[in-house]
Symmetry: C2
Subunit: 119 residues, 2 copies
DNA sequence: CTTGAACCTCACATCAGTGTCAAGTTCTAC
DNA sequence: GTAGAACTTGACACTGATGTGAGGTTCAAG
């Protein structure tokens, strides 16, 4: 599929998809004319990338992580090195703290909303 | 208390505390010489501000929100307007989606970590 | 007093993903 | 073959909280 359709199906801009490619996160075949041609699996991958970005991971970590992930259709094509495992564990802990923070903020907002509604 | 101690106790940099003041999020008395003098309640407030920033709220929203929050020692000093409630509800929904995304990323990382450990 | 830590304001830099525009090429359908 | 949509690369802008450094002032303890 071409970049326009991939953008539409994932909700990620064409600009970002091209950026992901420069970061080594997303490969694409090329048509004879040079247009990108993505496999169907790109949809899942882009969504995964987007989620990881949202979780605060940087391109480099995502790039290292991607080959170690289990794809929808198969097992991982690589096993994380001890060094990577250490990094990812730190990231996971950071995400846990982030979730805890978000919960508190969510509760704060919810309380303000409820207070206003009950007034 | 002065800015250095507040920074130490909250883990937020002095730079950020001064920035919060320019954004109307954090008030301080001044000594005759011009140094900031914070009340004890500033500690809780700063932590709360930090959490809201981490949740993706911008200064302006936090500024509107703060007076409507229940402080540790008392009730809110203002009630959110319908317009603000609408905004905050949107933010709350966004935070919910963010938490869901984070959970998925957390699970992704965890699986890679477990796979590596079991190998 | 003096001295050093702590504080003040102001200004400029940074980060990294994304938006946007320009100028040119390819694709597809008629 | 031609029109227009879709694509290409490249460059520049932005966001907005935070880092950092300069140059000067205040505070607190000896």
């Amino acid at each position: 599929m071409r970049i326009g359709e991939l953008a539409r199906r994932t909700g990620v801009s064409e600009r970002s998809l091209r950026y992901y490619e420069t970061q080594g996160l997303l490969a694409a075949e090329r048509t004879p004319g040079g247009h990108r041609d993505y496999p169907e699996t790109a949809v899942d991958r882009v969504i995964r990338i987007q989620e990881l970005y949202a979780a605060g991971l940087h391109s480099e970590k995502i790039r290292q992580l991607l080959p170690c992930m289990r794809d929808r259709d198969g097992g991982p094509s690589a096993i994380a090195t001890p060094r990577l495992v250490q990094d990812l564990t730190a990231e996971r802990d950071r995400i846990d703290r982030m979730i805890a923070d978000l919960r508190r903020s969510r509760e704060t907002l919810d309380e303000v909303i409820r207070t206003a509604r009950d007034a």
